[in-house]
Amino acid sequence: MSAFQGLLKKDFAISKLWFLFWLIFISVFLIIPLAIESYFHAPLSFLPVAVILLLVFNTFLLPCMLLSMLRLEGKTQLWLYNPQSSKALILSKIAVSFVYQLIAQLYLTAVGLVIYQFYKNQIHIEASDLFAGAIIFNIGLLLVGLYVSCWAVFYWTIYHSLGKFPAVKNWRWLVILFLFFLYNLISTFLAKIEILRDVIFKWKIPVLAGPNFNHKEGDNWEIFLNMTDLPVLGLLLYIILACGLFLISCWLLDRKVEV
């Protein structure tokens, strides 16, 4: 077993129970609207909403899983007693959380498709639209999950790096809040600069990502996807930002976080 496999196995072992809880939670969250619908004889009133809601919640599954693993390790920080690089230590956790999110999304997508099979005549959507939409939506959620995770790791390492200064130890979360607001302030400020916006939106790729729901008479739905323009530079910027956050976290973990 290679060292990284060992890490993956360990991270899976310490988190599998939480993931199991999440799957159970999802299932309950799906069964309840199904039960309500059949009780009131009102098909398709709650369930689609529940599926979409859960898929959106799922964006936070990755960072939440990651944070709960980090919280466990952070109790003693003895996971740092390990000859592997910080990148390997964190990547293993991200990889395990990513797989969890992927499985949960596949599960929900499958549920969604099953629902679709039952109510085909009430939902009007092109098969190709459905297919492309599902894939793009899922990839999008995974990417957002990864992006948020990088922020989560970053804040976590900052929080624990401050742990060795008793003066700020009890106010660490304030520092985190401050950083959070500072970043948002700066990014909204930057977004207001017109030249910057022009540059960012100069190159765009069209993506099938704008779903339109039309409620028609007789409880029928018409769904079609619009093309949305995704700014390439903006995407690139987010990727660079995420990588930067990840690398800073690794650096902090190697040098500033203590047992």
Binding site: G6, L80, P83, S85, K164, E258
Partner: protein, 238 residues
């Protein structure tokens, strides 16, 4: 491997943990780092393991500045509880074997037999004493050039301490390992030590060769430790 601490200082806020500490540890010797709780023993070991960084000064293992990655050469037994609650003894052994290339599975098996540990048992179900033994297994099964033991007897009742001392003698490689044992239970490890170091309030106050101590001062390490501490207290009260 030679370990060198050069003018190390470390503080946590207003609390001074180590104050201008300089020490050299040589290959093939067993050192006892002795002192009351909170004297800086644990911090010293963590620093050598690369888990805590000095504010001032340098820590070198084999001439190389220590970082977290030094754990490849440093086997470290911590006084903290270091296990994942859902793991079995066997899971923990597997995990260590995957992370540390010098981990010797045969040695681990042998040690587990000696310590009567069952690899299928969940760690959270183990008694405190057995958790202590598992930590020893994990540390001693590695062929690391440096072995650091932080309070290896804590939580173990006196009956098993004797057998632990014997395992230490059997499994330490005296020709190649540098061993540092931090403890306030001096009696048990005394016959194991080559050198004894007293640390108090973050300062190294005495260092002696154990046999010289007996030969020249006619004192056991324990007696020497007690008299040194009493002397210090007397001085502090003046």
């Amino acid at each position: 491997m030679t370990i060198q601490l050069k003018n190390i200082s470390k503080r946590y806020g207003k609390d001074i943990s180590l104050k201008n500490v300089s020490l050299t540890f040589e290959t093939g010797k067993i050192y006892g780092l002795l002192g009351p709780n909170g004297s800086g023993k644990s911090t010293t070991l963590k620093m050598i393991a690369g888990l805590v960084y000095p504010d001032l000064g340098q820590v070198e293992v084999n001439g190389e500045e220590v970082t977290r990655r030094i754990s490849k050469d440093v086997a470290y037994l911590t006084e903290l509880d270091m296990f994942y609650p859902s793991f079995t003894v066997g899971n923990m052994i597997d995990f260590y074997a995957s992370q540390f290339t010098d981990f010797d599975r045969n040695k681990a098996e042998q040690l587990m037999q000696d310590m009567k540990l069952d690899s299928a048992k969940k760690i959270k179900r183990l008694s405190k004493g057995n958790r202590g033994r598992l930590k020893l297994v994990l540390a001693l099964a590695r062929k690391a050039p440096v072995l650091l033991l932080d309070e290896p007897f804590s939580g173990l009742d006196p009956m098993v301490r004797d057998s632990i001392v014997k395992s230490l003698v059997s499994y330490i490689n005296f020709d190649e390992q540098t061993v540092i044992i931090a403890t306030h239970e001096i009696d048990e490890i005394e016959p194991l030590l080559d050198e004894a170091i007293i640390i108090l309030n973050g300062k190294i106050i005495e260092q002696e060769n154990v046999e010289d101590l007996r030969e020249e001062a006619g004192l056991s390490v324990l007696e020497w430790f007690k008299s040194t501490m009493a002397e210090r207290e007397g001085r502090d009260h003046e």
